[in-house]
């Protein structure tokens, strides 16, 4: 039942925020904050009390499970379950949700109640995605997080240069994700009907569908349907077009959620659904996926270097970082998959940090254009130091979580696909270039405008310090996370070892 509450709390909190606006502007903020903290506390308590040393069998690895029939005629259930991976991601959602509320404290001034309704509905949808095991329910939540995100960008976003309006960015975001969601729906339905024609049983249940014997070449197309749906969200080049616009135009809270959690739903979907449902097809597809990952790493990094808008720069770095995750998921190595999970968490921290920082800069100098920054080091206290820390995390400096994630990915992938790792390592140099370019354009050089600016207040300082401490803590002692997800990562890696000659195929493509 606690799983239901994890999903319901943000939704109820959101409704309450909406209504609370009549009590004053501050009320929705406090309610939203309390709601997300509540989610965070529940997941941390579950984590502390959970036993994750479960055997790696895929059948009964759930820490908590809850299922009731919903539409029995079609075999649709409300089936929620939690294992180490979903627990960590739910906790991450609670944490970043808290930050998202905090960083909009002064930024959002109009329709505060409705803003928090949307924000909390996104987060509720995300928690649902992480917990749903029934494919229909999963799809429902998958679509449910899009609509409030659309409003978040369209109503509270910034309009950049002419032609780059927030409405346009929101529409683009919506079309990309809708279209890909449609592919997934088709794939889900096809899978269900194949299973129906095989067994005469209509079911959307994950456990039931996992063993479905889908004939070739249909299986390949279904796998591709899932892959593309997740690839758009991750995002994988060439499906990344919505991301820079959405980030640049979204309010800070939207960017934090988008980069921190929404992108992770895609990686989660691959680990949970795309790979286990179609192991052989995924193994055969691995060389292509890895190549796409490489393209993402390099392409994202090169584009990041050419951006003038600070949030677009950070958005492109996300594409680059997610390339590492994609490579890891298709590497068939437990070490790499564990690394990908760490990298997901690490990227959530570092990109959230950078987005919050650029939001704070925007509140002070009212621009995101790096050509009109420069020399901020002498104008703002403390913020440049934090920027440097998160920039260092983003370029994979050891002792940060990003380093642990990236290097585990690379160490794990190297034996099966050395060439991929060599090319991906070029991304490490490029990461240094774009990260330091950001630093240099914003904080170094002569002052673009004179005059000191306000330093961070306790709220801003606290957010950044918490993120930084967590980044370094995970960087120096990631073991608690690794232990939690070990039971999830190992079976996923085994999927590929069964699908035999992966290494040979990966070699051929490269």
């Amino acid at each position: 039942m606690i799983l239901v509450w994890l999903i319901l709390i943000p939704f109820l909190g959101g409704l309450l925020c909406w209504q609370a606006e009549r009590w004053g502007e501050q009320a929705p903020r406090w309610i939203a904050l309390a709601t997300m903290l509540f989610v965070l506390v529940i997941s941390v308590v579950l984590w502390l009390g959970g036993d994750f040393s479960l055997p790696g069998s895929y059948e009964s690895q759930w820490l908590l499970e809850w299922r009731v029939p919903w539409i029995p005629r079609f075999g649709i259930e409300i089936h929620l379950a939690m294992d180490g991976l979903s627990l960590i991601l739910v906790a991450l959602t609670g944490f970043l949700g808290t930050l998202a509320v905090l960083c909009s404290w002064h930024e959002i001034a109009h329709r505060v109640g409705f803003f928090h309704l949307n924000l909390l509905f996104i987060l509720g949808g995300v928690v649902g995605v992480f917990l749903a095991l029934d494919l229909f329910l999963f799809f429902l939540f998958w679509e449910m997080m899009l609509v409030p995100m659309y409003f978040l960008i369209a109503l509270w976003g910034h309009s950049g240069s002419p032609g780059q309006t927030r409405i346009r960015a929101a529409t683009r975001f919506f079309i990309y994700t809708q279209a890909s969601g449609l592919l997934m729906l088709v794939a889900i339905l096809a899978l269900v009907f194949v299973h129906y024609s095989n067994t005469g049983e209509l079911s959307f249940s994950y456990d039931v569908l996992r063993g479905t014997d889908v004939p070739e070449p249909l299986a390949f197309w279904l796998m591709l349907g899932f892959f593309i749906a997740f690839a758009v969200k991750l995002p994988v080049v060439p499906f990344h077009g919505w991301l820079p616009d959405a980030h640049a135009q979204a309010p800070t809270a939207g960017s934090v959620d988008l980069a921190g959690i929404l992108l992770k739903t895609a990686a989660y979907g691959m680990i949970r659904f795309a790979l286990p449902l179609f192991p052989e097809q995924s193994a055969a597809f691995a060389p292509v996926a890895m190549t796409l990952g490489l393209v993402g790493i390099i392409y994202g990094a090169v584009l990041a270097c050419g951006q003038q808008d600070i949030k677009r720069l950070i958005a492109y770095t996300s594409i680059s970082h997610m390339g590492f995750v994609l490579i890891a998921l298709y590497s068939g190595s437990e070490l790499a998959i564990q690394g990908a999970i760490i990298l997901m968490v690490a990227h959530a921290f570092s990109s959230a940090g950078l987005f919050i920082l650029s939001g704070q800069l925007y509140e002070r100098i009212h621009t995101r254009d790096m050509r009109t920054m420069g020399g901020l080091w002498s104008r703002i206290p403390v913020l440049p130091g934090f920027t440097l820390c998160f920039v260092a995390a983003s370029l994979g400096m050891p002792a940060t979580a990003n380093f642990v994630g990236e290097f585990m990915v690379l160490f794990g992938t190297f034996p099966s696909a050395p060439v991929v790792v060599v090319i991906a390592s070029v991304g490490l140099v490029l990461a240094a270039i774009y990260s330091l370019l950001l630093m240099q354009r914003v904080h170094y050089g002569p002052e673009y405008r004179p005059g000191p600016l306000k330093g961070p207040d306790a709220r801003e300082y606290g957010m950044m310090l918490t993120l930084l401490v967590l980044t370094i803590a995970v960087g120096l002692y990631p073991q608690p996370l690794l232990d939690t997800t070990a039971a999830v990562a190992a079976p996923v890696a085994e999927l590929f070892t069964d699908a035999s000659d992966l290494a040979a195929r990966a070699g051929e493509v490269n």
Partner: protein, 622 residues
């Protein structure tokens, strides 16, 4: 018990960094200096304690397991042996003197807290680098050093050139780091461990000598070493790194950073011995670097740039030693070099501050009476740099390197080393004469303000001066037992001949320099200002044009591709469906024109088509 002093030795600088970073300016300049200098001083004392309680065996202190997934088990673990202790002593000892001097040098500068926070973090990273008992922890320190160098080189953040120099230093060394990282991946895949001791025992069991894998692994590690130690072709960041305050240059060039590559190769000696070809390459790169840099040093006008190229040249000697398998000689030279290069840089710093930030030799001169302490520092440090026989520390270590090269029968390397010794004599004499003798070139040099502070100015210079004499060489304990036998062990006789040659080279260099700069100065200036002489001067002044080459081959194509891709052409392709849809939209909108006549035409046309279709399709109308 080694645990306490060893842990304290790197914890003090870390705590210094944290206190300074979170002080938010509450400490003031004096408080920041006290904490910044004090933390490294305490680290030096802790190191002394560790040295005194060292038993001679390698001790492993495992603090915790960093990551544990399957076989992948790197720890946060420290390995303490003679090599680590020597490095620690140099880092904290010389580092402390540099920090102390910085308190004088940085007086009145803005951001002193930030300065000391970075400096302390630098020392901390370097300590982890030499203490890490597995390659991943070593890599942590390795990258940390790079980040700190970025922060310190770009310390004067308002100059964009400084930011670029910092950027360049980080990116160029990062390229080397990626090679090292690939080396780690390879080592882990092949040997299943990253623990240094286990790597060294397993490598000969798994790999045959000269096998492709062993060569590749050594080559990749070498790539990392080249970046950090500024050897050809990854050396271009080093001269630009002079953009930072002079104590930073001293720290980077003497006690930390550039020595990291030497340490790495010495530490992984067993790996390199399995790859004789790569060993030869190490020696050759060292020889090339030492000569290129020595020529470049001849044609610099900035005193810090002369010293920068001399560092690269001296590191070249260490690579040469590593290349012939004389690991102990390389570390020996590393230690003496740390003493005399720190002395030279700090003395240069004393000159620069006394002359109001003037560091162009053409605008200095005639300072020897007015700045006696700095002059003394230059004389003693310069003597060690040219390896003045018997009295200087540099003589003993450089002699050892040349002797090992001779014993290993690498005559090419030996000749390069001897030629380098001649050149070193020339550029050192030029440096000292240009800075301290002759006529002052500017008002700043005519009226210098000598440093007077006994503790923060005189003391570090004097201590380093003493260490740069034969006393410094005596202090080196000798680490022969830790390394495989150097080639010199197996050779009888010949050492005397070598010493005659080496001393001959030094004397020749000094004499040539004296003759050129004292007797034939006008002729020299004349040659250097026109025709081939001027071209040669220009070539050397720009250090053989590596920067221009990399600019053409790498930087510009990169910038071009960034510009080309900036508008995200893949995304534009994905916009095609939207464009097509919009095209249809435009077409259909046009049809909706509100004219009854055209509607009627279309309707009739449509009806005809449908009727025709019904008539022609067999069995169409049931």
């Amino acid at each position: 018990m080694m645990v306490t002093p060893v842990v304290l030795s790197f914890l003090f600088p870390l705590m210094g960094t944290l206190v300074l970073a979170f002080s938010s300016g509450r400490l003031g300049a004096r408080g920041s200096s006290v904490i910044g200098v004090g933390s490294v001083g305490l680290a030096a004392l802790a190191t002394l304690w560790a040295v005194l309680s060292h038993t001679g065996d390698r001790e492993i202190i495992t603090l915790w397991t960093w990551i544990s997934v399957g076989d992948f088990q790197p720890t946060i673990g420290l390995g303490v042996d003679g090599l680590a202790l020597v490095m620690m002593a140099v880092i904290t000892g010389v580092g402390f003197l540099i920090h102390l001097f910085a308190a004088w040098y940085m007086t009145g500068e803005a951001g002193i807290t930030r300065f000391y926070a970075w400096m302390n973090l630098f020392v901390f990273s370097m300590m982890l680098l030499v203490l890490g008992d597995n390659l991943l922890l070593l890599f942590l320190g390795w990258e940390g050093v790079g980040l700190c160098s970025y922060g310190l080189i770009g310390y004067y953040y308002q100059g964009l050139d400084n930011a670029r120099a910092a950027f360049k230093a980080f990116v160029v060394t990062r390229i080397g780091d990626v090679f090292l990282a690939l080396g780690l991946f390879l080592v882990f895949m092949e040997l299943g461990t990253l623990d240094i001791a286990t790597v060294l025992t397993r490598a000969p069991e798994f790999w045959a000598e000269g096998s492709a894998t062993a060569n590749l692994a050594a080559l990749l590690v070498l790539g990392g070493a080249l970046g950090k130690s500024a050897q050809v072709p990854l050396h271009t960041w080093l001269p630009d790194a002079m953009a930072g305050p002079t104590p930073v240059s001293a720290l980077i060039h003497a006690a930390t950073m550039v020595t990291a590559g030497i340490y790495l190769i010495a530490r992984l000696n067993g790996l390199f011995l399995l790859a004789p070809d790569v060993m030869l390459l190490v020696g050759v790169i060292g020889a090339i670097s030492l000569l290129l840099a020595a020529f470049a040093a001849l044609a610099q006008t900035d005193i810090k740039r002369v010293l920068a190229y001399s560092t690269m040249s001296q590191i070249g000697y260490m690579f040469l030693a590593l290349g012939v398998g004389a690991f102990d000689a390389a570390i020996f030279h590393l230690v003496t070099h740390a003493f005399f290069k720190a002395l030279l840089f700090l003395s240069a710093g004393a000159v620069i501050i006394s002359c109001h930030h003037e560091q162009d030799m053409r605008k200095l001169g005639g300072l020897w009476r007015k700045l006696p302490v700095a002059y003394g520092g230059f004389i003693v440090g310069g003597a060690a740099l040219v390896a003045l026989p018997l009295v200087s520390a540099g003589f003993f270590s450089k002699d050892e390197i040349l002797w090992q090269a001779m014993a290993a029968d690498r005559n090419g390397l030996l000749i390069a080393g001897l030629l380098g010794a001649v050149l070193t004599g020339i550029y050192t004499v030029r440096l000292v004469l240009g800075t301290f003798h002759g006529e002052p070139g500017s008002d700043h040099a005519r009226h210098p303000e000598p440093g007077t502070n006994l503790i923060t100015h005189h003391l570090p210079l004097v201590v380093l001066a003493v260490l740069s004499t034969f006393i410094g060489a005596w202090l080196y304990p000798g680490l022969g037992g830790l390394f495989p036998d150097a080639p010199g062990e197996a050779v009888e006789g010949g050492h005397t001949l070598l010493q005659v040659l080496a001393i001959g080279a030094v004397v020749a260099g000094l004499a040539l320099a004296g003759w050129l700069f004292l007797m034939r100065r006008p002729w020299l200036d004349d040659v250097a200002s026109k025709g081939a002489g001027a071209s040669l001067w220009k070539l050397w002044h720009h250090a053989w044009g590596f920067d221009a080459l990399f600019d053409r081959v790498l930087v510009r194509p990169w910038q071009w591709s960034v510009r080309m891709l900036r508008f995200d052409f893949i995304n534009l392709i994905m916009n095609l469906p939207a464009l097509i849809a919009r095209g249809f939209n435009a077409g259909l909108v046009r049809s909706q024109n509100g004219r009854t006549r055209s509607y009627a035409v279309v309707m009739v046309f449509g009806a005809t088509v449908i009727l025709l279709a019904l008539a022609l399709v067999p069995g169409g109308v049931a």
